[in-house]
């Protein structure tokens, strides 16, 4: 791939990311515009109509749409997403304080997904007729059919209510790292608390990835170059893991990118069931309290996370896969 093509691709991909972000910010702004009256939150009912109008003018609420949107945008870029009605603190600050909890939950779930789906998927592809493969495929369709929140509820019912082995809510004991990040990974209590939420969150993706990896791997194993590798007399391990698995993972990366949005959506469900103090749980509380600035801040932050990760995955996919042709790279 020529470096000029690569640069053109990166610029176009970046442009697309910015475009999506603009659309998300427009959604956020129109919510702010239509949902709740900031004036009422500020002054209550007792102020006269004339004073209200004066205040509206001063706050710029009577400005044309584009002027207001531009102000919203410039504020947002500087990190000002308004003040939460409920917490009386900057909305961005409130959201970011909850970010570590959600991030650690997603990280733990990702470990489970990768750690289980790669070996299982590969095994099912190598030995498709074995009992374990058949059982895995059978169980995976059951797994797809159980919504995330039900996995979570069943885990709580069995391991917390019936057996009393596991905690059913919260993050447990956390340690604050020097840069202000509260982690649950460093205490035994924190680790016990994350087990069930992480399993619940990974449960919906696991069957999907096992099936995907199995399918891709079986296809790769039928290709010429793998047959050639066998013919050279290479050790099975080498053929499976070095030759075949590498090329299996390329389509898996692109699917993983598409699934990031879904994973974030499922954190809302998981966090609600386990009362996990993360961004998703906060968002639902904000919805119930009609805390508009917080709702908007969540949409913008989550939108940003999703656009950034999607762009990175896309770029990695393009760099890793020698077969991707950058269409219109010369333009």
């Amino acid at each position: 791939m020529k470096s000029a093509d690569l640069a053109a691709f990166l610029i176009r991909r970046l442009g697309q990311a910015i475009l999506v972000m603009l659309v998300i910010s427009l959604v956020g702004f129109s919510i702010q515009d239509n949902l709740g009256d900031p004036l009422r939150e500020l002054v209550g009912q007792s102020v006269s109509e004339a004073e209200r109008q004066a205040l509206r003018d001063r706050m710029g609420l009577n400005d044309p749409f584009l002027v207001q949107y531009w102000r919203f945008l410039t504020d947002a870029i500087q990190g000002d997403l308004g003040t939460s009605y409920f917490f009386k603190k900057p909305a961005l600050e409130v959201i970011l304080a909850k970010f570590p909890a959600t991030f650690e939950l997603v990280l733990a779930a990702t470990f489970i997904i990768v750690g289980v789906s790669v070996p299982m998927g590969v095994y099912c592809a190598i030995k498709p007729e074995s009992f374990i493969s058949r059982a895995t495929m059978g169980i995976s369709i059951i797994g797809i059919s159980i919504p995330v929140f039900l996995t979570a509820i069943f885990l709580i019912y069995i391991f917390s209510v019936q057996l009393g082995w596991m905690p059913s809510f919260g993050r447990g004991e956390t340690v604050t790292l020097p840069w202000g990040w509260r982690t649950g990974f460093l205490t035994a209590d924190g680790l016990t608390h994350i087990v069930m939420p992480a399993i619940a969150l990974s449960s919906i993706m696991l069957p999907l990835f096992i099936r995907l990896i199995r399918g891709e791997m079986m296809e790769v194993l039928r290709t010429e170059y793998v047959r050639f590798a066998w013919a050279k007399g290479l050790a099975p391990r080498r053929v499976w893991f070095l030759h075949a698995l590498k090329n299996t993972l390329i389509p898996v990366i692109s699917v993983a990118g598409v699934q990031i949005g879904t994973l974030i959506a499922y954190t809302i469900l998981t966090e609600t069931v386990f009362q996990w103090p993360g961004m998703g749980f906060l968002f639902l509380e904000a919805v119930n309290r009609v805390d508009t600035p917080l709702i908007i801040a969540y949409i913008i932050v989550v939108g940003l996370i999703f656009v950034v990760t999607n762009t990175i995955v896309d770029v990695i996919y393009t760099l890793v896969n020698p077969m991707v042709k950058i269409i219109g790279g010369d333009a």
């Binding site: 949902l35 919504p147 509820i153 709580i156 959506a265 809302i268 609600t272």
Partner: protein
């Protein structure tokens, strides 16, 4: 008569009868659907009628447990509604939302897929880019945000009346790319075949070629994904209702039943949450298993991807 006898002798029915999993799933699903349709006739109570509910009956366990009441075979919830009745009615609501949402998805997606595939060029590029973005945003995320905003904007009372329509609209609009992509792929395969050329040479209008000539030949993959889509729509509805963004407690779907019963598993009243959960899982599983079978039966090419 001939249509029925053709069906009876068809390959499809023969394969269906030989597949035990498919037969069992079909029987389970058919039973559930019939039970939901005839819920007003077979349910012991009407859970929407406050006259038939007595708060004194609340949180009774199922009959096989100590303290069970023979009037409520599966026990009662915290408002004194019989679980059997609420589950039957709730299943109906879940299925109605699932089916209508998928009809909407199919309508939007098939139309866009046909136009996109047949016209090609800029139109195609535009719609497919839109589909990519829509898919990566995730249905559930879009639905959660849309419903959260509607709920906050309408206020709870108005929202309760509109919930069923909002759910159908949101789930229906969010998932159109699945259909659009499938149909587009089939259209691309069909549009250069001779019968389409013939129709074009005769001078038929484009709309007619798309709707009458190409569309019928793209329907079998549409049928295959429809089963999976219904299962997904039922899951989405349940998830949204569980978050309190879907059906209200006064008119519960399976998801909102699970939502309202969740807090009671800690106090020992497991049946309020567990029974609707089990029904929901069996319902989704039977649809998915039928979908799997249908895909293998109608689309031997896809078999290896299983």
């Amino acid at each position: 008569m001939s249509a029925i006898s053709t069906f009876l002798q068809s390959d499809l029915l023969y394969r269906f009868r030989r597949d035990r999993v498919a037969v069992v799933s079909f029987i389970v699903l058919a039973t559930f659907v019939l039970a939901a349709v005839f819920a007003p006739l077979i349910a012991p109570q009407n859970p929407y009628d406050p006259m038939q509910i007595d708060i004194m009956d609340s949180e009774l366990p199922p009959v096989w447990q100590e303290g069970g009441d023979p009037r409520f075979v599966l026990g009662t919830d915290h408002q004194g509604r019989g679980m059997l009745s609420t589950i039957l009615y709730g299943m109906g609501i879940s299925l109605v939302i699932g089916v209508f949402a998928v009809l909407l998805q199919a309508f939007i997606g098939v139309s866009i897929g046909l136009v996109s595939g047949y016209m090609g060029g800029r139109v195609d590029a535009f719609f497919m880019r839109l589909a990519d973005i829509q898919l990566s945003l995730s249905t559930l995320m879009v639905a959660i945000i849309a419903l959260a905003v509607f709920q906050a904007a309408f206020g709870n009372e108005l929202y309760e009346d509109l919930a069923i329509i909002m759910l159908i609209l949101v789930i229906g609009i969010a998932e159109w790319p699945q259909y659009a992509r499938t149909v587009r792929a089939s259209v691309l395969a069909e549009k250069n075949k001779e019968y389409v050329d013939a129709a074009r040479v005769v001078g038929l209008p484009r709309m007619r070629i798309m709707a009458r000539h190409i569309l019928p030949n793209t329907l079998s993959p549409v049928l295959v994904i429809s089963t999976v889509q219904v299962a997904n729509a039922v899951i989405s509805e349940a998830s949204l209702s569980f978050l309190g963004l879907g059906m209200p407690v006064t008119q519960p779907s399976l998801g909102s039943l699970i939502h309202s019963g969740f807090e009671f598993i800690f106090s020992g009243s497991w049946w309020i949450t567990m029974l609707p959960s089990i029904v929901l899982i069996i319902l989704i599983l039977s649809i998915n298993l039928l979908g799997d079978w249908l895909r293998d039966a109608l689309n031997p090419k896809l078999y290896r991807d299983e």
